[in-house]
Symmetry: C2
Subunit: 263 residues, 2 copies
């Protein structure tokens, strides 16, 4: 295989039928080998509330007790994943929806209690992907057979337990692992056009960021809040073998508009 | 491929952690190519009730409005399917969990309103599998790669819509379709040892039933109620190419005990 493109869409795309339909049409039209990873956090939170539970998030991550694991597995691996697959199939893309349990695709380890802002936090059934935890051979065999793997962010510990894993982390782990077998790009799709110098001004899009640029952007405070961990995660993926990481609007995947992070 | 065994487990097995764990151990140990189809109706009904809905069943089939489709997709394709896959992976079986949407595996058509007991019934998002609706080539490619496909009973119309389909029907459709490519057995696993002459006496197990025996059993009234449609469905599968259908206890899949329906 010459080249693989790994796309990630967030819950905001998955949760918006019009955006999702538009994304499915454009994603299906992309030629070559591709993988999709999706979130669904907002839908899971709504389902928790419908079932009388209050979602608990600490440092942006969901605390996942047994009942919450059941709900996120239902929402991510069931409703979101199968709907995305059905939409892609409708548009001529031979999608196969998977969790990390399927085909032993992604093996994770349950996170031990950690200290967050001075307090001990037990995230529960949350999984951190093992080094070499991604079964790149399995994913490649699907790609070579003309299929497009679509992953939700549910992983498995190989001992019969499902685990809730951050979807950005799933996407970058898959991209890093595939980069050992083929040139691999990672594309994060969300509701903005990319990294903006002024977050309220879409005209301030930064087209390219090198590691040196990133240091300067951090120092100047231009990149902060939610974008900071996203970019740190992206540059780690590049250090580990991914050719480039693109951050763009889910409505722009058919064109070049976006921010490209490169070596 | 020389031989394929298609197993179906009902909601009663899926809904009982001990039975399911025992089944997973024995299923994983079965040698050769195998496929698993599972139900999950009781869990779906409980989830409907937890969300304030009352399940509506007519002639044993679930009326599936939009909200019910969401729930059965979450329960069958999400929670049940991924837990079964995780259990099988734990036991060394390389399971891949699928719905009919994945890989275009099973294409169905939404059922038009039908007359049931003199009344018109719209079952909603319920799918009947199309003739040639099973993508046997896809399933065989997974088997040849050493994988064990695990199907929930959610199908897809190819136009972006998921549909709720009877799990027995999914199992027999898959078995019939695979029988065009290899000798195929179909094994229905439930909580009794097989077809009993006296339903309250486990010692009255009938070991073999031919089509002629079946006519006599129906006439005598010995086979009735829930077992009748199961056997009719089974003999149709045999007429359409399946080598034999076995009805047995989910706890007996490692041994010969059960009822074998043959030509």
């Amino acid at each position: 295989m010459e080249k693989i493109k790994v796309f990630k869409i967030g819950g905001n795309v998955v949760d918006n039928p019009e955006r999702l339909e538009k994304f499915a049409v454009e994603f299906a039209a992309i030629k070559g080998h591709k993988v999709l990873i999706h979130g669904g956090g907002a839908i899971a939170s709504r389902m928790q509330k419908s079932l009388g539970m209050e979602p608990v998030m600490i440092a942006g991550r969901r605390v996942t007790d047994g009942e919450t694991l059941k709900i996120v597995t239902m929402v991510y691996a069931g409703w979101c994943n199968k709907n995305i697959v059905a939409l892609l199939q409708k548009n001529g893309c031979n999608a196969v929806g998977l969790s990390g349990a399927d085909g032993g695709a992604i093996t994770a380890v349950k996170r031990a209690p950690v200290t967050v802002e001075g307090k001990e936090v037990d995230y529960g059934y949350v999984g951190d992907i093992m080094p070499d935890g991604v079964n790149a051979g399995f994913i490649c065999s699907l790609l070579e057979a003309g299929m497009t793997p679509v992953f939700c962010a549910i992983t498995c510990d190989g001992k019969g337990n499902l685990l809730n894993t951050n979807a950005d982390t799933v996407a970058s782990s898959i991209a890093v692992s595939l980069s050992g077998l083929a040139r691999t790009d990672l594309v994060f799709c969300f509701e903005k056009d990319g990294v903006l110098l002024d977050k309220d001004n879409p005209l301030s899009l930064i087209e390219k960021i090198s590691p040196e640029d990133f240091v300067r952007l951090k120092e100047s405070g231009a990149v902060a809040d939610g974008m900071l961990p996203k970019l740190e995660n992206a540059f780690r993926a590049i250090e580990c073998g991914v050719e480039q990481v693109v951050i763009k609007n889910s409505e722009n995947i058919g064109n070049d508009r976006g921010t490209t992070l490169h070596r």
